[in-house]
Symmetry: C2
Subunit: 169 residues, 2 copies
C-alpha cells in the first residue's frame, strides 16, 4: 500500500501503518493512541518519558542532550549489552500539536532525515500521530525502510500504550 | 533546464545556476568562487562574515543566534527601513566541506527546508558550492522558487566575491 492521502477518521491505527510516499522520498507513519493530544505530545517532548518508550524492547536508551524547543537539539544512545547505537537531531519547530525534527544515526553522520510529527485530536479522547520523514533521495528513503525500523516503531509505541494505560502521563 | 546530474568540471558557474530537481521536491544551486574551500566554508560558518554577504544588497543583516556546529542553530534578521525578515534554522551536520542545515522564514514558522551545502575543490584555487534544498512537497518547492529568492542569491554571492577579492577572508 502506497499513499499520500490522509486516512479518514473511520480508519483505525491500533498498530502503526508504515507507508512509502508515492511522489516524494518520504515515509508516512500513522498510529492512534488512547490518550489526549497533550499526553502524546508530552511523551515526545519530555526526555525522561521519551527514554522509557523509544525503540525496541531489547534496547535501553539514555538521553545525553535534550532541548526540545524550536532551534533546540537532542542526542540519545540505545544499548543492548556491548552494542551501542547513537542518534541525534535538531528541532527546527516545536509547537503544541506539531514537531519538526531532524534525525540522524551517528553511524552515517551526514544522512539527515527531516521529520514532521503531527498530533491530531480524534475527538473521543484518542489522538492520531502522523509522522512524515523525508530523505534526500528515493535510495536513502528505501534504505531507511529496509533498516528494520518497524520493530522499534511497533515495540516502542506498544510501550507507550502501556505507559498511557498505567496513567504514567 | 532541469537536472539532477552533477555538472562536470568544464562547466563554469561565475553566476549561480538555480535549478528545480526533476525527481524530488528540491532546488539545486551551483556557484563557483575564486577562492579556496576553507575560505568559502569560513564565509558560511563565521557569523560576522556571513552577515556581511547574505541576502540582497538592499537589506542589512544582524545575527542574533549563531552556533555553527553539529546540533547547533542560528537566527538572523534582515532589515530595509521598517521592513524586517527573520530567518532561523538548525545545523544537523557541520563538517569540513559539508554543512547540513534547516532553513525557515519566520513568517511561515512550520515550513522547514533541509539544505545540504557541499564545497568542492576544483583543483585550481577555485571552489564549487552545491546547495541542495529539499522541501516537504513539490508545492512548497515551487513556492520557494517563486519567492524571488534568486535576487538575494545573486547579489549575496556577488558581495562574497568582492570580499574574497579584497582579501577579507
Amino acid at each position: 500500500m502506497t499513499t499520500t492521502q490522509s486516512p479518514d477518521s473511520s480508519t483505525r491505527f491500533p498498530e502503526a501503518a508504515i507507508l512509502a510516499d508515492e511522489h516524494v522520498p518520504a515515509v508516512h507513519i500513522w498510529r492512534d493512541f488512547d490518550a489526549r493530544v497533550e499526553q502524546v505530545v508530552r511523551a515526545h517532548t519530555d526526555a525522561d518519558l521519551f527514554a522509557q518508550w523509544i525503540g525496541p524492547d531489547s534496547l535501553t536508551t539514555t538521553i545525553d542532550e535534550w532541548s526540545c524547543r524550536t532551534n533546540g537539539a537532542y542526542r540519545y544512545v540505545s544499548r543492548r549489552g556491548e552494542e551501542e547505537y547513537a542518534f541525534r537531531g535538531t528541532f527546527p519547530f516545536v509547537g503544541e500539536d506539531k514537531i519538526v525534527q531532524t534525525f540522524t544515526w551517528e553511524g552515517m553522520p551526514e544522512a539527515v532525515a527531516l521529520e514532521t510529527l503531527t498530533f491530531e485530536d480524534l475527538g473521543d479522547g484518542r489522538t492520531r500521530l502522523h509522522g512524515f520523514s523525508i530523505c534526500d533521495s528515493f535510495e536513502a528513503r528505501d534504505q531507511m525502510l529496509a533498516s528494520g525500523m518497524e520493530v522499534g516503531i511497533h515495540e516502542g509505541y506498544a510501550k507507550l500504550d502501556r505507559m498511557l494505560g498505567a496513567g504514567d502521563l
